[in-house]
């Protein structure tokens, strides 16, 4: 980064303001003590990467960018001329638009990572210059809800001061203090600053319970390597003192026996160490995997909304396995090979320093060469791997989409496309394997040429020393044996870096999950929630999945115990968000939700969820029996209770028709049940769960009328005596509702009974009903 934060600016910035930017700002008349905000977007006005700083002072706003060399102000405006501010989303980022004296100006571009920051900046400026008033829509509003949703006093409320302190504090927490990059979403571990050593240390922490075994492994490795070092020495004695001197022939058998014993012990140690290594490696990985899964289960739904399930699965499974590969084999190989290389070098130098040095001279060449060769080979295998997975993915697509392919008669085109894919993977495979088959022998050849050196220089030494005082034929044999031991490990060690990097990245990815903090967690002082009557009150609730784009805006609503509310509105209106908030799957941004007068953020989440039941659109059945699926929310339920719940859900008859009744296995590899049956199992599940507050997000659009009637009966039983909030995608399913609430664009538009709402000229509900009636009439005529 640039040189330090000039005095004063750090209070209003996230990253340090570079001196030249500060100068440019000061030249514009900005003073740090009279500024409330100075942040940069990392995108220049023309869209290139660079530094663009937005400064907000008490009188003026300015954007200063470093365009090429000296920073200059690209835009400036007086605060009292600013009539509004907003952000415009563009692909890969956004634009801050400031309305100056009625003319909107695009003042600053930013990348996607900075969108939340500038979204909130715009929101705050907007609220300061144009405090929220009663909107024009009010004229259309009717019913009790309207009066509650926007108090009329707001129009006269004084403008909130421009205050970014809290925002700055929050943003600073999202920025890596060492490299000043934004953290990736939902984590506070900077991928650029993760140190290998710290990752290794964390992995080791998981290995701690097994330290006696690990120490034993280390001991075995050390002993094994030492024993390997002894072998060539026996060879030397054998050649010099036994084979070369027939009078010592009686020593032949004992020496060979000693060699045999050494070999035996060595292999034994190898087996022991290998088995231990696998045991420890698997246990460590398993521990990490288990903890990652446990942690995932604790995370809030918002985390899963932003992550692909596939990517998470790969983290828990593949990354953990990759780590395991390293833990099981990698560490052992590394330690053994390093010990081996050190031991051999020491031996060679000890036996004959001059010859030793000469022989070790080609070593750096071998190291560099094998590094280069491995890189080449690795790249090719990577391509091959890509080609294969592309072909597999294509195959998967084509087979699951086979109905579409057949419907359009595209079989021959698809065969052609698949042909291309496998041709590509064939060529990649040939390329990769041929490179392997060429380069590996070349490398081995280079290694073997150093043997020629040993033969030549070794022979010279023997000629120079005919008495065999320092160098003998035996020494030469030992040398050759030692050389054979060192080059293999050397080649392996050149791949170590690559191996280590990949495993540590995998480890870091797994740890990344562990580092995510759940957004919704019980407060330390969370109170238990007693059995509730089921009154729900929403007080000025505002919420957005991205805080700067609210999905629900200032919603206020009171639901009486036992009342059934039907949520109506076009898709995207915020209905699903509404019900998610009641079960506290997300926390509201502003306002509060109260159940029986308790703010749901102040009570134990487990207590709340026990009393809130969901029957969701996409009913998920777990792999297990029908009975297990029904008893999911109450594992202790008796078999009779399960049957009673199924009867109440109108599901008993069809369950008894399944091959194994309530013991029928459902799920991925079990018996398939239809959508309507699935829903009734879910209803039975909810009946057995017996929550005070029931949330229905039912989809009856995909079932026939008879099935729908069955579901309606089941729902009728379910909602009796419970506070119910239901989203109905078909208005006919709202027959049970006591009150209908119409939501549009995140706001409560109308509420009342069906008759009241239908009586409203130009009402939103009336419009919706008319559209649907028209629609079904068309179907009736056309179909």
């Amino acid at each position: 980064m640039n040189d330090g934060n000039p005095t004063g600016w750090s209070a209003v910035s996230i990253r340090p303001v570079p001196a030249d930017i500060a100068q440019a700002l000061e030249a514009q008349g900005f003073k740090p003590e009279r500024c409330v905000l100075c942040v940069d977007s990392r995108v220049l006005p023309d869209g290139r990467y660079g530094e663009s700083w937005l400064a907000v002072g008490d009188e003026r706003l300015a954007v200063v960018s470093r365009n090429g060399h000296a920073p200059e102000a690209s835009w400036t405006a007086r605060l009292n001329e600013v009539k509004g501010a907003s952000t415009q989303k563009v692909t890969g980022g956004g634009v801050l638009v400031v309305n100056v004296a009625g003319k909107p100006q695009e003042v600053l571009r930013y990348d996607a990572g900075h969108a939340p920051l500038f979204g909130e900046v715009a929101q705050r400026i907007q609220r300061h210059v144009a405090p929220p008033k009663k909107e024009e829509k009010d004229a259309e509003l009717a019913g009790k809800g309207a009066a509650e949703s926007a108090p009329s006093a707001a129009a006269e409320a004084p403008a909130p001061p421009l205050d970014f302190k809290e925002l700055l504090k929050k943003q600073r927490e999202l920025t890596c203090p060492s490299c000043l990059r934004l953290y990736p979403k939902n984590t506070k571990v900077c991928p650029f600053c993760v140190k290998r050593s710290s990752t290794i240390r964390r992995v080791m922490a998981f290995a701690k319970p097994y330290r006696t075994k690990i120490l034993l492994m280390a001991f075995l490795m050390f002993t094994g390597t030492a024993l390997h070092m002894v072998e060539p020495q026996i060879v030397r004695i054998l050649v010099d003192d036994v084979i070369g001197k027939p009078q010592n022939a009686r020593m032949l058998l004992p020496l060979i026996a000693l060699m045999g014993l050494l070999m035996f012990v060595n292999y034994g140690i190898g087996i022991w160490r290998g088995r231990l290594g696998i045991w420890v490696g698997c246990h460590v990985t398993n521990g990490i995997q288990g903890q990652a899964f446990e942690h995932l289960q604790r995370l809030s739904l918002s985390y899963f909304n932003k992550q692909q399930t596939g990517a998470l699965m790969s983290r828990v499974n593949n990354d953990a396995r990759q780590m395991q590969g390293f833990l099981v084999e990698g560490i052992q190989y590394t330690v053994i090979n390093v010990l081996m290389v050190i031991g051999v070098i020491a031996m060679l130098l000890w036996m004959n320093p001059l010859l030793g040095l000469m022989l070790l001279a080609p070593m750096p060449v071998v190291v560099v060469l094998s590094a280069v060769i491995w890189k080449k080979i690795h790249r090719r295998f990577h391509l091959l791997w890509n080609a294969i997975s592309a072909a597999t993915a294509y195959l998967n697509d084509a087979l699951s989409g086979v109905r579409v392919i057949k419907a359009f008669g595209k079989e021959s085109e698809e065969v052609g496309r698949f042909g291309e894919k496998i041709a590509y993977s064939r060529d990649s495979m040939i390329d990769a394997e041929q490179t392997w088959q060429t380069l590996v022998p070349v490398l081995n050849m280079i290694v073997h040429t150093s043997l020629l050196l040993v033969w030549y220089f070794g022979a010279q030494q023997i000629y120079d020393d005919p008495e065999g005082k320092t160098f003998t034929l035996g020494s030469l044999m030992a040398y050759i044996a030692y050389l054979g031991m060192v080059y293999g490990p050397l080649q392996l060690l050149t791949r170590l870096n690559d191996w280590l990097s990949r495993s540590l990245t995998a480890a870091a990815r797994v740890f990344e999950i562990l580092d995510v903090e759940p957004e919704i967690s019980d407060r330390p002082d969370a109170k238990p929630l007693p059995e509730v009557k089921g009154e729900i009150e929403m007080r000025g609730v505002t919420f957005g999945y991205e805080k700067h784009t609210p999905v629900l805006k200032n919603v206020s609503l009171t639901i009486k115990p036992g009342e059934m509310i039907g949520l109506v509105g076009p898709s995207g209106a915020g209905k699903s968000t509404f019900i998610n908030l009641v079960g506290r799957l997300f926390d509201v941004d502003e306002g509060a939700i109260l159940v029986d007068g308790h703010d749901i953020r102040e009570v134990k989440t487990a207590d709340l969820r026990r009393q809130v039941g969901y029957v969701l659109q996409d009913t998920f059945l777990f792999s297990g029996t029908v009975a297990e699926n029904i008893a999911y929310a109450r594992p202790g339920a008796t078999k009779e209770e399960i049957i009673e719940a199924a009867v109440a859900a109108n599901a008993h008859t069809f369950i008894m028709k399944l091959p194994d009744g309530y013991d029928t296995f459902l799920g991925e590899r079990g018996t398939r049940v239809s959508g309507g049956e699935r829903q009734r199992i879910a209803i039975a599940r909810a009946i057995l769960h017996n929550p005070r507050i029931l949330i229905l997000d039912e989809a009856t659009s995909s079932v026939d009328t008879e099935t729908e009637a069955r579901i309606q009966i089941a729902l009728g039983t379910l909602v009796k005596g419970r506070t119910t909030i239901a989203i109905a995608h078909r208005l006919s399913t709202l027959r049970h509702a006591d009150r209908l609430v119409v939501i549009k664009d995140g706001e409560v538009l109308e509420q009342g009974s069906h008759a009241e709402l239908m009586a409203k000229e130009g009402g939103e509900y009336r419009k919706l009903v008319n559209i649907q009636t028209e629609w079904s009439r068309n179907i009736a005529v056309g179909g």
Binding site: A648, H652, F665, R669, T705, I713, G716, L734
Partner: protein, 196 residues
């Protein structure tokens, strides 16, 4: 069903008139728990029909029976069904909580009735499993006698269930059940494990 209930639990006048409810009339399900002392079963042996009388009032000349939990609780929760004209299983009649609540000879009749509706042999011993081209040929001894069948796609048709249960499905969709893999004799188990 003796007493009729109105469809839906809340008054229908609140329903949106524009999109009228479904025209299909569906009865809500009810479950009648049968009093064991009030039941009388009759069977003349062989393949003849099994009749049931409830409280000396209602008589069903040909009944069917099925367990709610044929795997985990085969003696409890037995559902009886009326017979349709074509001899197929018809409307549910009622449920018996426990087979043991009946007199021993009555139990035997109900068991015969159950046996007729649940044709899944239990594997006692595996005699042989071998691959034949793309099929796997199984030779088994079951509680219903020896059987041999072919199976394709062993990944789909050998299903492991909790508690050591294994369900085999042959090329004709017949099921064969191994109640507990661990309780098989050693040879059978060794043969089976090679395919799991």
């Amino acid at each position: 069903m003796t007493d009729e209930q109105k469809t839906g639990s809340k008054p229908a006048d609140a329903a949106p008139a524009a999109s009228a409810g479904p025209p299909v009339k569906v009865e809500p399900e009810r479950l009648e728990w049968l009093e064991p002392k009030s039941l009388a079963f009759r069977w003349d042996g062989g393949t003849g029909p099994i009749a049931m009388t409830i409280a000396d009032q209602r008589t069903f000349l040909r009944i069917h029976a099925g367990q709610a939990y044929p795997q985990s609780d085969e003696r409890r929760f037995i559902q009886f069904f009326d017979s349709r004209k074509d001899g197929q299983r018809g409307e549910p009649v009622g449920m018996l909580r426990n087979l043991d609540d009946l007199q021993p000879e009555q139990q035997k009749i109900v068991q015969e009735c159950l046996k007729r509706s649940y044709l899944v042999p239990r594997v006692l011993r595996i005699v042989d499993i071998h691959d034949e081209y793309h099929l796997v040929r199984w030779t088994l001894e079951t509680d219903r006698g020896p059987v041999a069948f072919d199976m394709d796609n062993i990944y789909k048709n050998i299903q492991r269930r909790p508690g050591g249960r294994v369900v085999l499905t042959d090329t004709h969709e017949n099921h064969y059940e191994i109640p507990d893999r661990k309780k098989l004799d050693r040879e059978s188990r060794a043969m089976l494990d090679a395919y799991l």
